[in-house]
C-alpha cells in the first residue's frame, strides 16, 4: 500500500478546545515568555550597577503607561505559571485527575492568576 499518498486527517484545524488543553498550551507559551522576562530582569539588575544615570533611564521607561502595562503583564504571566505549576505538582502526586476537578482547578488557576496579579500590584504599590 502506498501509504504516503494517503492524506492526513485534519487535527488542530478541527479539534475543539477544552479548558485543560487551552491552559496546557498557554502554560507553555507563558513559560517561554517568563524565561525571556527573567533574562531581561537580569540585564536590568546588571545595568543598575552602572550607576545613577542608568537607573534613572530605566525608571523613565518603566514609569510610562507602556512600562506599567508591561510590568502588570509580567506579574500576570508569573502568577499564571506559578498557579498552574501547583496544579501540575498535584497531578504528579496523583491528585486532581478527575475530569470535573481538573476543570474546576483550571478555572481557579485562570481566575486566581488575575487575583494574584492584583495582589502583587497592591502589595507593591502600598506596602513596599
Amino acid at each position: 500500500m502506498e501509504k504516503n499518498k494517503n492524506p492526513l486527517s485534519p487535527h488542530l484545524q478541527i479539534y475543539r478546545w477544552h479548558i485543560s488543553s487551552l491552559l496546557s498550551i498557554s502554560h507553555r507559551i507563558v513559560g517561554v515568555i517568563n524565561i525571556l522576562i527573567i533574562t531581561l530582569i537580569c540585564f536590568w539588575v546588571c545595568s543598575l550597577l552602572l550607576g545613577e544615570n542608568s537607573y534613572e533611564s530605566t525608571r523613565e521607561v518603566l514609569k510610562t503607561f507602556f512600562g506599567k502595562f508591561l510590568i502588570i503583564s509580567f506579574c500576570w504571566t508569573f502568577s499564571f505559571h506559578i498557579l498552574n505549576e501547583i496544579r501540575h505538582i498535584a497531578w504528579d502526586m496523583g491528585y486532581g485527575f478527575d475530569l470535573k476537578v481538573a476543570k474546576i482547578t483550571g478555572i481557579l488557576v485562570f481566575l486566581g492568576s488575575f487575583i494574584l496579579t492584583a495582589l502583587f500590584f497592591i502589595v507593591g504599590k502600598y506596602f513596599i
Binding site: 492526513l8 486527517s9 475543539r16 496546557s24 501540575h88 497531578w91 496523583g94
Partner: protein, 258 residues
C-alpha cells in the same frame, strides 16, 4: 515533528452539496469528510441535507441514512452499534467519540463529521491505525507468568486486587483518546499515546502478572511515556468515561516512587 498545517495533498476542498429531496421541514446539514483513494483528488467536505423526521437518534443513524438513501459510496467502520466494539470512532463536532453512542440532538446547528485526527486516511472516515496496534503489541498485553501450564494451578486474584483493574479493563481500544492527544499527533511514532499507556498500566497493575518491574522499566522512556503533558484531551474524549490521563499519571508516580 510539530507541523500545524496539513500537507498539500491533505488540504480539504469543498465537495458536493446534496439537497434534500423529501421536502421535509426538519432538516439537518451534515458535513462529512470524504476522500476516495481511486481518484487522486484532495479530500473534500460533502454536505448532506438529512430529513430528521425519519432518522434515529444517533450520529451513526444519520451516517446510515446517508449511505442508504443519498450516497452509497460513503465509507465508515461500524459493527456493534452500541458502544462496545469501538469501530465507529470518529471526530464528531470537534471531539473524538463513538458515532453509535453520540446523540445528534446534543449538537446544535450543522453536524461536522471527520475521521479520527492526524491519521493516514484509508477512505472517507476510516483512518489507518496500524502504528497504534503495533505500539499495543509492544507493551505485550498478556499475562506473563513463571508457570508453564503444566502445574494445573489456578492463578488466583483477590477481590481487592481485581478492583485495581476497574477503570482500565473496560477500554475497548477505539483510539479516540490517542488520536485526540496533541503530543501523539506530533510524536505518534515514538510516544505510546494514552490508549496504549492505559493498557500498559492495566498490565503493570495486574496482581497475577510476574513482570511488573520489566514492564515499568520498558515504559520508562522520555519519548514513550513522558511526552504526556497532562493536556487531558484523552480523558475529555473517552466515550467509555475512562481516565487515561490518570493512568499515565499513576505510571509516572510509580516510577518516581519505586
Amino acid at each position: 515533528m510539530v507541523k500545524f498545517n496539513l500537507p498539500q495533498n491533505s488540504k480539504i476542498e469543498v465537495g458536493s452539496y446534496y439537497k434534500d429531496k423529501t421536502n421535509s421541514t426538519n432538516l439537518k446539514k451534515v458535513n462529512v469528510y470524504r476522500w476516495d483513494p481511486s481518484t487522486g483528488n484532495n479530500p473534500r467536505i460533502d454536505t448532506f441535507e438529512v430529513d430528521m423526521d425519519h432518522c434515529g437518534p444517533k450520529v451513526l443513524d444519520i451516517l446510515f441514512k446517508i449511505k442508504n438513501e443519498i450516497d452509497p459510496s460513503l465509507t465508515f467502520r461500524r459493527s456493534c452499534a452500541h458502544g462496545v466494539c469501538g469501530s465507529c470512532a470518529m471526530n464528531i463536532d470537534g471531539v473524538n467519540t463513538l458515532a453509535c453512542i453520540k446523540s445528534h440532538t446534543d449538537i446544535n446547528g450543522e453536524l461536522n463529521v471527520y475521521p479520527l485526527p492526524h491519521l493516514k486516511v484509508v477512505k472517507d472516515l476510516i483512518g489507518d491505525l496500524t502504528t497504534l496496534y503495533k505500539q499495543y503489541e509492544s507493551i505485550q498485553p498478556w499475562l506473563k507468568v513463571e508457570q508453564t501450564g503444566e502445574e494445573k494451578v489456578e492463578l488466583k486474584q483477590s477481590q481487592k486486587d481485581r478492583e485495581k483493574l476497574d477503570g482500565h479493563y473496560e477500554c475497548i481500544l477505539c483510539a479516540c483518546c490517542s488520536t485526540s492527544c496533541p503530543s501523539y499527533w506530533w510524536n505518534g511514532d515514538k510516544y505510546l499515546g494514552p490508549a496504549v499507556l492505559l493498557q500498559a498500566y492495566r498490565w503493570i497493575n495486574d496482581s497475577r502478572d510476574g513482570s511488573k518491574k520489566e514492564r515499568l522499566k520498558k515504559v520508562a522512556d522520555e519519548l514513550k511515556l513522558y511526552r504526556c503533558h497532562t493536556i487531558m484531551n484523552c480523558t475529555n474524549s473517552c466515550p467509555k468515561g475512562l481516565n487515561p490521563a490518570k493512568a499515565i499519571g499513576s505510571i509516572k508516580k510509580m516510577l518516581a516512587t519505586s
